[in-house]
Point group: C2
């Protein structure tokens, strides 16, 4: 089934079940008011929501039109958002750009940072930033929402706790990172609010594209209408979602509704760095990767970061060309105090 | 007023208003089921809760006994937990122990890390850890809960958004930090679930001890019944809560119910490192600080980290010796899968 959260006068919006083709939806307030409510009691809510999803396809269910523009983040605010960096190739490039090697253990110990989860952006909300010179960047990602995960869960248990899959734009302010990372405490100001796709889907909606741990489809990233990336999320993902979730739960439990991200999706090209789509490559899911390749090959980055007015679109299509999650489409906008 | 969350069969517990002396409480489900519900609509909920608090003191309100043991974390799960490191003196020692200097800007740019907020420990819950050799440590802190804070809020606006104050134990696994910090992404596994005091209080409950930005009272930390720290939270706090909140909101808004911590409370002694209580000092709020001083002065740390069975207690008393927030009292316990 496919689930979305319609924006409403409440902070957590209204849960709806969405038709497979994303054109219709049905209110399910009698089952769960919000997606978090459904996740809090997934065992009971999921079968009931699935029956509504069935009714939506067969026409036996009251429906209304679904517009992606009306959707907020599936979880407008969440209790946990931890974002991996599973495409190590991407990380390796970042190290290489500063003449460093990947640290020992990089291939066995997943990278994951603690994100902020209190104020997610809706999938069509602008990316509001105060200062254009802060190095505004998108990061196109896949993310999963898990059920309760006990502390010390095995990789198998962690994988079995995955309930929903969606796309993410992990908005980053690259220019604020060096001074922030120099403090040794990770990101804070350099990772403002993230955005997620209009729709989160259960694994069965993905058919064979979801192998239980990875999603084997291209992540379509475009910039001002031009294709920028189509890297396959199932390729070059060194740590799968089950491993990322288990890593996050090593020293603490995770609550139902916790979101775990893949990190920027990135594919190698012939064993080396990715190439632009125009040159026959799979392109990129963030600007920083391309800028890093430019720095390594020509000595300087020439692609600029995002500017006010730029439009980022992140989407994924099934084998018949239909959008699975709806599109994240966001315009970078100067922040003005209301 | 004083607010607590009684553990219940629900994930977020039941909000109660607690009497000033922490002996009685009153259910307020007709006003707000949970503390997050109250914070989501503080403007309306707070005056009504305050009337219950008044009734509790005058006896005009139905009451029941309040037992700190029945309380969960005021917010058993929250949308945001960002923890500062405002007692720079403490940070300076950590740098000194590895022969480094505080970075430029350390006195003007607050340090704050993004914590995980999905699974807080109740104030009397054990600190469950899988492995005793992970360098288990407490960090005694003061924390505030804010209302909605707009992106880019001024320090004044940030200070005005502080709604509640409580104590925190920011449990840390020191042994997991070096390899985690080497990845450059901050803490994750090394900062397992934190605990908060049984009661959160509005600023007016603190009288002159709260100046709007700092809490001027000693934080009493004991270890296995022996006093270990009594550092005054109002002394040597280089960044006050208003500054920490504004820092957290620089590039994004904060949602109502966000928790901002002070970092380990720490006092200098005669301009130098703190001294143990037995030597006339104010002691320490975490073991790492004492171990660092030992390393600097004798070449090696001799105080061990916490062991299974150790009991940490964190409390704060008013000028008449009464506990303000109730006590965090936690036993370190080996984690066994249920």
């Amino acid at each position: 089934m496919k689930l979305a959260t319609l924006k409403s006068s409440t902070r957590d919006g209204r849960l709806v079940v969405v038709s497979r083709d994303l054109t219709r939806c049905s209110e399910v307030g009698h089952i769960a008011r919000t997606l978090q409510d459904a996740l809090d009691d997934w065992e009971h809510a999921a079968p009931r929501l699935a029956r509504v999803a069935e009714g939506l396809e067969t026409g036996s269910q009251p429906i209304m039109r679904f517009h992606e523009h009306d959707a907020g983040s599936p979880l407008p605010r969440a209790y946990q958002w931890a974002d991996g960096s599973a495409y190590l190739h991407h990380v390796e490039l970042m190290y290489k750009a500063r003449n460093a090697e990947l640290p020992d253990g990089a291939h066995t110990d997943p990278r994951l940072y603690q994100g902020g989860s209190d104020t997610f952006l809706g999938p069509r909300d602008p990316i509001v930033v105060q200062d254009e010179t802060w190095g505004i960047d998108m990061e196109g990602e896949v993310a999963v929402i898990v059920d309760d995960v006990p502390m010390g869960a095995s990789v198998e248990e962690a994988g079995a706790a995955i309930r929903l899959i969606m796309l993410a734009n992990d908005v980053s302010l690259r220019g604020l990172m060096p001074s922030e990372l120099a403090k040794g405490l990770g990101f804070f100001q350099s990772k403002p609010s993230s955005a997620f796709s209009p729709v989160a889907v259960t694994p069965d909606e993905l058919g064979t594209a979801w192998d239980g741990r990875k999603l084997h489809l291209p992540l379509l990233v475009s910039l001002n209408g031009s294709p920028f990336g189509k890297a396959n999320a199932g390729i070059d993902m060194v740590f799968d979602f089950a491993q990322l979730v288990a890593h996050a739960a090593r020293t603490r439990p995770l609550v139902a509704g916790s979101i775990i991200g893949s990190g920027t999706v990135s594919n190698r090209f012939d064993g080396g760095p990715g190439k632009p789509i125009a040159e026959g490559g799979a392109g990129y899911s963030c600007l920083a990767e391309l800028r890093t390749i430019e720095t390594i090959t020509t000595g300087a980055a020439k692609t600029p970061f995002l500017k006010f007015g730029d439009v980022v679109r992140i989407e994924m299509k099934d084998e018949t060309g239909h959008s699975i999650f709806g599109a994240i489409e966001q315009t970078v906008t100067r922040y003005e105090r209301g």
